[in-house]
Symmetry: C2
């Protein structure tokens, strides 16, 4: 056997990152990226280079550029050598004088939607149909850097609070949330489903790690085609044991969101500025009971209560408006939702079994979280299922944890895309989803 | 409107964490957890308390315990007050003398499988059938703390290398990997599929962020019922642009795995010790071409080559054995897999189009990663699809990125459960999966 080659894992940095340019002022460096925009003047051209996270101002001029300007096309991939020079009129305080350019690839055609203006001026349908391209827009992609920042902040917080991250299955034998909005699957000739939430599994794992979380896709076969619904979304779920009241879950969420916002401020300043995001301040979040909230809205706006068991979307907006007016908070916890509207695992209030020890968190006019305490006692859970006419035998593997001992526990699910959308004040939750899925859309 | 209550996000720590006990020697503290094991002696009892991540030795004695020993049941959830005392015979150097105990919940029955011995002595079927309970075993759960550690290490590494974490859809209109092993779904009356990998999406996102990664479920409708296959698993995927050769991807993976192992050593020492894990050392990873590897195995073991396009599982084992013998490495990269066996997006070698610029990473006898360079040129991709008899129109949204410009790029997918299983030398990949899915199993 001849000598064996090896890979040693050394990562060569052949080019400079945009973030490091300032340290190279006065030097000639190598940098790579996508030609984002070319603005040709009479004897020179402004060229914007899109890198991993930045857009860098470059200048082409016959004076110092040693190539033909016709070589440059928007959306070409290039490696260039350039001199970093101070330039007061540039946002960053410097610009790149292009010396040489190597073209790595060229687009076959010019893009069908203009993506290199401040804002993409097109319909939401076009924005989504051409998603692989429209996401290249500086502002569109910044949305997802912020979304990543939220996840990183949440992970950092939960890890510090001794939560363990888990991976639960998405193909399941029974839905956790009930109702008809579940996707059916042919699983080797048998029927299976796509998980509506990791509910059952995160509860089981409370028996193992006491505190767990998961950030993963969930699937809802809802036929609503609205600006607030997705059929597949990313759910930030946590579940915690040994709680003394369901308010502990709300306290944990409050601290978690506060940390996530702090994390964004520390790590996504550029994107927040680009999108002109007004981060909300979380001090203390107001809490109101569902019934009181309904009555308050009815009274303040002279509205008739039509649905005694849930909010209409319009009511969520009105409530948030009212709370903001009275307290200055953009968040509000609504608690004690009616038992009828909550799943079979929701724990009922000891004082009033018509109400559950549950909550939603509303933010800027929309529900972004549902949570609450769960039933941990076996008999109590079985009784509630029977009262609801459920076939207890179908849930045998779920009930195993109750049967063999569970602590008082509860948790929540936060819709990542909804939270991102409200944070960035995007009118449609699809804009906060890389590749949204709705009743009409499974592509791109 | 009356005064509004608020939640301020203060997290009260009412009890001590097991990790902090050493600082409390000589004090009486409050701690909570699950009664894991009771060993009753004539006039006292050893009680093991299972906390989030530890098992703590406690002692019951009429001398200092102010409750009846009959109150204690295995798998009960309790809050106790106890004195932390030095005890040389305890592994930790201290033990807890139980003073008072409050029972928060009790199991309805004793567990059907003994879970509080060093090892659960039962079949893999029982282990999985009673998963919510068997995971409570100290060693079983340690597997998943290590798995979490791998993910944390990988995330830390990739984030430092300027990768952006993404969330791509799992409901898709076309499979990325081809073949028949795809799950079909009724999507509002139309047929859709479960993503076999995030391949298309991570490539699209290279056009946006240059470097991206995702840790998420993927779905394969493989009918193989083996100890190495799962129908749903967690794929650690990354994809990077502006590469000069596919070896850069291997270098990145080498550095990533090295960092993950370092992270484990720093953060999961207790679990590694509990499971007696021998972490591999990654210095330089040997690289061998697929064809040479096949010939080497044939020669060294006098085996006839039956399949010229892929390895048989036995050959992966033999190759790993050979490489370990010759180089001391437990990892080996196999490169240049035959084009016929690689997907349509694999870039072919310029010297020999029968071979692709691709690789697998084998570890301790098993393939854990598949990766390679992808075609970035539109014409080249379309031509290859046509040669394969594919209907190009069906892939319009995938080809959009090629049409409008892509850099040379490539990436890989690492099977999280397989890597965990090989790292911990678990004979069945199911043991490294919280709730495995196979052809016979969708519960628990």
């Amino acid at each position: 056997m001849q000598e064996i080659k090896t890979i040693n894992g050394t990562i060569l940095q052949r080019t400079v990152e945009a973030e490091e340019l300032e340290a190279h002022i006065g030097e000639t460096i190598k940098i790579h990226g996508y030609i984002y925009k070319i603005r040709r003047m009479s004897d020179f051209a402004f060229v914007l280079l899109r890198t991993k996270r930045n857009v860098v101002q470059c200048v082409y001029s016959e004076e110092f550029s040693m190539f033909s300007p016709e070589m440059l096309k928007e959306e070409s991939c290039v490696v260039m050598t350039a001199e970093v020079v101070r330039e007061a009129r540039s946002k960053t305080g410097y610009e790149l004088r292009m010396r040489t350019v190597e073209i790595l690839s060229e687009p076959k055609e010019t893009v069908p939607v203009v993506i290199n203006q401040k804002k993409i001026d097109t319909s939401i349908e076009n924005l989504l149909d051409y998603r692989p391209i429209t996401l290249r827009n500086e502002k569109e992609r910044a949305i997802f850097r912020i979304q990543e920042g939220i996840c990183r902040g949440v992970r950092e917080f939960l890890t510090n609070e001794n939560f363990t991250e888990i991976h639960s299955p998405k193909i399941v034998a029974a839905g956790a949330e009930g109702g008809a909005n579940i996707f059916r699957l042919d699983y080797f000739g048998k029927e299976a489903y796509l998980a509506q939430s990791p509910q059952f599994y995160k509860q089981m794992m409370v028996g193992v790690f006491e505190r767990v979380f998961e950030i993963a896709p969930v699937f809802r076969a809802e036929k609503h085609d609205t600006s607030r619904n997705l059929n597949e979304y990313t759910s930030v779920d946590f579940e915690m044991g040994f709680i003394e009241s369901f308010e502990e879950i709300m306290r944990m969420e409050t601290a978690m969101l506060r940390h996530a916002l702090y994390f964004l401020k520390e790590n996504c300043g550029m994107e927040l500025e680009l999108l002109k995001v007004k981060l909300p301040v979380i001090e203390a979040i107001p809490v109101i009971r569902f019934r009181e909230a309904k009555e308050l809205i009815a009274k303040e706006y002279g509205r008739e209560i039509r649905d005694f068991e849930d909010f209409e979307p319009e009511e969520e907006k009105l409530l948030c408006g009212l709370i903001f007016e009275k307290t200055g908070s953009e968040f509000v916890f609504v608690t004690h939702y009616p038992s009828k509207k909550r799943p079979f695992y929701a724990m009922e209030s000891r004082e009033n079994p018509e109400e559950t020890l549950s909550f939603d968190l509303l933010f800027r006019g929309m529900e972004i979280t549902t949570g609450g305490q769960r039933i941990h006692d076996y008999e109590e859970q079985v009784l509630k299922m029977k009262r609801r006419g459920m076939t207890v035998e179908l849930f045998e593997s779920y009930l195993m944890m109750h049967r063999y001992g569970m602590p008082p526990h509860g948790g929540l699910g936060l819709g990542l895309e909804r939270f991102t959308a409200r944070l960035l004040e995007l009118e449609n939750v699809r804009r906060a989803t890389l590749f949204p899925r709705d009743i009409h859309r499974v592509t791109p």
